[in-house]
Symmetry: C2
Subunit: 199 residues, 2 copies
């Protein structure tokens, strides 16, 4: 039998979609109290500030996203499959988001210019984690001969993330997954024609 979640974990799970949908400044501790049914004392018993709760909520949201990537990348055998699996995760994202309100990294990147510097740093780290994964995958592809020589792994990581993140923004703005489908189609075409070694 699973243990019931602690109050702390339950607060975080309920706060995560709120922060992700409305941004750090758009959520007040009163909103969290309303969502959780906790009184002020009960809430501040677990989190001494909104800043602290927002960080915990971000970590929670990121874990949901990371789980999607781990799941998709666990069974890939080649560098090509790994890159295509990342496209697949993002394609699923627009119709079945792992956490309500879109991508927490993207939202935080756009949102918290100076409101919460620690949150911004965490968003950078989370984006860098995926960027590093792509970079290493591309390098492995080059080393094994699966990918062309002379590719710039940094540039490919940057291109994939920019295109997918921008497509997520457009798909969300228009509530239309076609923008993501087109981005994924383009990147898959690019990978097949300009990343994979010609036979």
């Amino acid at each position: 039998m699973r243990r019931a979640p602690t109050t702390r974990a339950s607060i975080v799970a309920q706060a995560a979609p709120l922060f992700n949908q409305r941004g750090y400044t758009g959520v007040s501790m009163s909103d969290i109290m309303a969502a959780t049914g906790l009184k002020k004392g009960g809430l501040y018993n677990h989190f001494e500030s909104k800043e602290q709760l927002a960080l915990a909520a971000f970590e929670y949201a990121i874990r949901q996203v990371r789980r999607r990537f781990i799941e998709a990348l666990r069974t890939t055998q080649t560098a090509t499959e790994s890159l295509l699996a990342i496209l697949g995760v993002m394609q699923r994202y627009v119709v079945d988001p792992p956490v309500l309100g879109g991508c927490p990294v993207l939202n935080t990147a756009v949102d918290s210019d100076d409101a919460h510097p620690a949150l911004r740093t965490r968003a950078q780290q989370a984006m860098t984690e995926l960027q590093d994964y792509i970079r290493v995958t591309v390098q492995q592809g080059i080393d094994s001969g699966e990918f062309r020589d002379g590719l710039d792994p940094d540039a490919i990581a940057s291109l994939l993330l920019a295109t997918l993140d921008g497509a997520l923004v457009l798909s969300k703005l228009y509530d239309d997954p076609r923008h993501m489908h087109r981005a994924v189609d383009h990147l898959a075409w690019y990978i097949h024609h300009n990343v994979i070694s010609p036979k």
Copy 2:
């Protein structure tokens, strides 16, 4: 001699970078009072609500962005030049933003899920304006034989905007214009190799 700006225009010009940097929910009417030095009565004399002021500030920000595009597109002679000019505007954007805080359309797209539906609608319209411009440009290029037959103008508009917007997010998150340069390099390469008719 230019007339001194009206108080209303001056409020809007000062509110625009605040809203653009912190988002709709991140700015209070008190912040606007502090920035403009106006008292409550003076401010509410011009704007009956924060909602109304935020919309006016967004229109102001959008005008600064639109001016950049008009300037860059005024002298282009061909569809290729027009598409490359759009890339140039975005490349300049990351080092010399027309309004502080990044792109107002992008920020509003990510920011105002449900906080301010009218603002979201305006962001959609502004994004659609640029999307339509690209779409029409691509169609003209196809019609004149400058571009390949069989291109999908919608897909190209979507791809350009997604890639450039995503690159703007990454460049801002890392405070590093290289992400935009790579996106622009990729799109320029794509335009030359897959959009322009082979000679």
